[in-house]
């Protein structure tokens, strides 16, 4: 009897729990897939009884496992193998891998090799940042966050800035990428990197051409900043949006800095500042394991980086949470200024306007243009360097390889490679911390905060579509792939489901940008 009674109690409890679960699960919104990401992405939003957002998951549904199949490969092949992590920013992985080989073989590249590498790298940063400004994130501002969706794309940008400018952007991108092809063999997966140097020298006749393109790139940077100033910064509504709470998180910030604490994309120490902007840590990349940990969640294939000494305390902001941020906003927060004159002038204005540190995620767009100008100026400095055409491009390794760590600032943030090898230079361990991972916790928080700010009482407005996207797009989620979204559209489907998983409402945005209810 008591068994039966127990069973009855259990059943009652189970029914109660199921009922509670059912009401809890009464609304689930899936955005699948999101786009303008390198790779696949998905957002699952769960509403509570009141129809407000209880939890939103920003998911990466993909894994390839490079760390594992790197084992057994030759160290010198790693810059080319790891570039296949991302064909949009292959130059970043190629360069991080190459610098890891320098450290692995304890060989210092020649001065000319360093200059060639840094020049290639800054060319890459210019084209990559430009793509984001004109094709990905920019339309939200240049055309407007509340503009009709049909115009909120690159064609809308061209409409605002003119067809000639659109052609200029395409041509600029091509010319910059042609230089990477010249020096790196290919632009999608270049091959120039070797420990202690680069594979190919710069010919004198090429240098003249590089100088011309560099001059154009600097003008292009100024021009891009003018567009940002005229269209975005002079518009009070946009500035208010940038400053709004829905797009604000106070976290730690990280970036690679030179000895003057100016950002350097190619080399330097990692500097971390607190949410208050004070220096928290400054370390050579070989010490990264003391500072960076990767947390695992069961709902995404991506790992979530955090500051080890602060610890992982969940998806929270503030000085007590190890969550940190990388990429343009973070780099400028971690910096005391910029190393080139024009970029520094722009940086001072940015800081004077927004204060420091800047916690507004959407300010990434502004910071990105300042970095674009810096990269163009740095490209020009290096293109004008008389040492660039020296034949002294390699220093042959003589040490027995064992372990190496390398770092660059990818467009999307700090990128770390770490290899161990046997005596023959065969990989026995590889650890890769990519920019997206460093930003993954904060990005997930931003998406959730935007969803919470936008969805109330179960009402899913059309406006959610763009604004939720803006929350992750500001981080430049690997960019270039999506650059040619020609006839526009941020393709989205939002489905509202009941507890059985049946779709009760679907909102979709078509290729013409119009939003339909089905």
């Amino acid at each position: 009897m008591s068994d039966n009674k127990n069973r009855a109690v259990q059943e009652t409890l189970a029914k109660g729990a199921a009922k509670a679960d059912a009401s809890y699960m009464s609304r689930r919104i899936t955005i699948d897939p999101i786009t303008r990401l390198e790779g696949h992405g998905k957002i699952d939003i769960f509403l509570n009884d009141q129809g407000d957002v209880d939890r939103a998951y920003f998911q990466v549904p993909e894994l390839r496992g490079f760390e594992k199949f790197a084992v057994g490969r030759l160290a010198e092949d790693m810059p080319q193998i790891t570039s296949r992590i991302c064909g949009v920013c292959p130059t970043a992985h190629h360069m991080a891998g190459t610098k890891t080989l320098d450290d692995l073989y304890k060989v210092e590249p020649t001065e000319t090799a360093k200059k060639i590498r840094e020049m290639i790298y800054n060319i890459f940063m210019v084209e990559d940042h430009a793509i984001h400004f004109y094709f990905l994130g920019g339309p939200d501002f240049v055309v407007g966050p509340t503009a009709p969706a049909a115009e909120r794309n690159v064609l809308g940008v061209i409409g605002k800035v003119g067809v000639d400018t659109g052609k200029q952007v395409i041509a600029m991108r091509r010319r910059l990428r042609e230089i990477i092809s010249t020096l790196g063999g290919k632009v999608v997966h270049p091959v120039f990197g070797l420990p202690g140097g680069v594979a190919r020298r710069v010919k004198p006749e090429e240098q003249k051409h590089f100088q011309e393109v560099a001059k154009e790139a600097v003008e292009f940077g100024k021009f891009t900043m003018k567009i940002l100033e005229d269209i975005v910064l002079k518009n009070k509504d946009y500035v208010d949006l940038i400053l709004s709470d829905a797009f604000t998180h106070k976290t730690y910030y990280m970036g690679l800095m030179d000895k003057n604490n100016h950002p350097n994309f190619y080399d330097g120490d990692v500097r971390v500042v607190t949410p208050e902007g004070k220096e928290y840590a400054r370390f050579p990349i070989q010490k990264y394991l003391e500072h960076i940990g990767e947390h695992v969640e069961p709902w995404s294939y991506v790992k979530f980086c955090f500051l080890k000494k602060v610890g992982w305390h969940g998806f929270k902001e503030g000085a007590d949470s190890g969550v940190f941020c990388v990429a343009p906003l973070a780099r400028l927060n971690a910096a005391d200024g910029m190393a080139t004159p024009l970029a520094n002038e722009l940086y001072q204005k940015y800081v004077a306007t927004l204060g420091k540190p800047v916690h507004h995620t959407l300010a990434n767009h502004w910071a990105r243009v300042i970095e674009l100008v810096f990269a163009a100026e740095r490209f020009q400095q290096l293109a004008n360097d008389p040492e660039l055409t020296s034949d002294n491009i390699r220093r042959l390794p003589t040490e027995t390889p064992k372990e190496g760590v390398g770092v660059v600032e990818a467009p999307r943030g700090t990128l770390i490679h770490h290899y161990k090898t046997d005596d023959r230079g065969v990989i026995t361990m590889a650890n890769l911390i990519v920019a997206t991972q460093n930003n993954s916790a904060r990005t997930a928080m931003s998406v959730e905060k935007a969803a919470k700010g936008l969805i109330s009482k179960g009402v899913v407005s059309d406006g959610i579509l763009n604004e939720v996207e803006m929350a992750f797009r500001a981080y430049d989620p690997c960019h270039g792939c999506a650059t040619h979204s020609l006839p526009g559209s941020m393709p989205l489907i939002v489905r509202v489901r009941d507890l059985e998983g049946n779709t009760t409402a679907t909102l979709r945005r078509d290729s013409d940008g119009r939003i339909h209810k089905e």
Binding site: E38, D44, Q59, R64, D77, V188, E294, A482
Partner: protein, 331 residues
């Protein structure tokens, strides 16, 4: 769905890096001609991502789907089956789709060993609870899902029927444009064709004149070990270059960057096992008849799989490391 009468074209990516998307974007101004000639009805990375819309289309209503990336998980498998039904023609676009590609090197391991490395043993991973991503998760009543991760990476034609192959990591804009023009012309090549010249890369290499008639290599050099002459055949310098066994069409891009061909275009026609073909090409130029010396010379290539099968392990006769062998290597 538009009904403007233009041929419908789809682009999709599986386990890939986005470089194949960049290759399309690198058509630069020409992409405007493409858009004028066809109706791109699916390109998740750039245009409206509506799996549902493609599902709603009649079977065979897409003229051609360009699919890049290897098939690594359940979502990719489902997508390529669906696209196959909807498409008259399917092009395996790029090395991963064509041959399995660099992500195919994961076939030296399996799901368990990869997860073990990525989520447990990675030196910066902090995972005291032993968490792993779950295909289905009940998180306090919230059901969250992820695609299933397979043990084995497959090239596209190991999953669906493929009409043509576009080689390269990444394919060049020039070959891409030619392929689009050929397909639109209606003058189709025979099924199964690889859309790039069926000749060895050496034929279009700018250094061909410096390639000796009879090479005799007594030691293979690795690119970081020597100063590489910018004019001379790389094989003649002792560097393993895949040119003799690799299909042309890229116009020797890596060699113009003063580095060897690593074989991303795969083999010329009728080669069953590309890695085996390279191995035999290189073995034939080993300059020794003494067994011990030959072994020593071949030892100067410490990673045969990564050297010869870098892009083609999933479609090779090896295909993958035996699951039992992977299991027995586990700690």
């Amino acid at each position: 769905m538009t009904t403007n009468g233009k041929p419908k074209v789809a682009f999709y990516w599986c386990a890939s890096c986005g470089g194949c998307e960049e290759a399309v974007v690198d058509l630069a101004e020409s992409i405007l001609d493409v858009v004028a000639a066809v109706d791109i009805i699916f390109w998740p990375v750039a245009l409206d991502f509506k799996t549902k819309d493609v599902e709603a289309m009649a079977d065979g209503s897409i003229l051609v789907s360009f699919i890049n990336g290897a098939v690594r998980n359940s979502e990719q498998e489902e997508m390529v089956h669906m696209l196959r039904r909807k498409s008259q023609l399917v092009i395996a676009y790029g090395a991963c789709s064509h041959l399995g590609g660099i992500p195919g090197l994961a076939n030296l391991w399996d799901k368990k060993t990869i997860f073990q490395e990525v989520y447990h043993e990675g030196v910066s991973t902090v995972n005291p609870d032993g968490t792993e991503p779950q295909p289905e998760l009940d998180d306090q009543g919230r059901r969250v899902t992820l695609p299933r991760f397979f043990d084995t990476v497959r090239a596209l034609d190991q999953v669906i029927d493929v009409d043509y192959y576009m080689p390269g990591c990444a394919p060049t804009p020039k070959l891409t444009m030619q392929a689009i023009q050929t397909l639109l012309s209606g003058n189709l090549p025979p099924k199964g064709a690889v859309l790039s010249p069926d000749t060895a890369l050496c034929k279009e290499c700018p250094r061909i004149d410096t390639k000796p008639e009879d090479l005799a290599i007594t030691e293979f050099k690795r690119p970081h070990e020597i100063l590489i002459d910018e004019e001379k055949c790389l094989l003649a310098q002792g560097i393993p270059c895949m040119g003799p066994a690799t299909r042309g069409g890229c116009e020797a891009l890596c060699i113009k960057g003063n580095m060897p061909c690593s074989g991303c275009f795969g083999p010329p026609g009728r080669v069953r096992d590309y890695g085996g073909k390279i191995l035999s090409a290189l073995a034939s130029i080993v300059g020794s008849r003494d067994d011990a010396e030959i072994i020593k010379i071949l030892d100067s290539i410490p990673d045969p799989i990564g050297t010869f099968y870098r892009y083609s392990l999933p479609v090779s006769m090896l295909r993958r490391k035996k699951m039992e062998a992977v299991a027995s290597e586990k700690k």
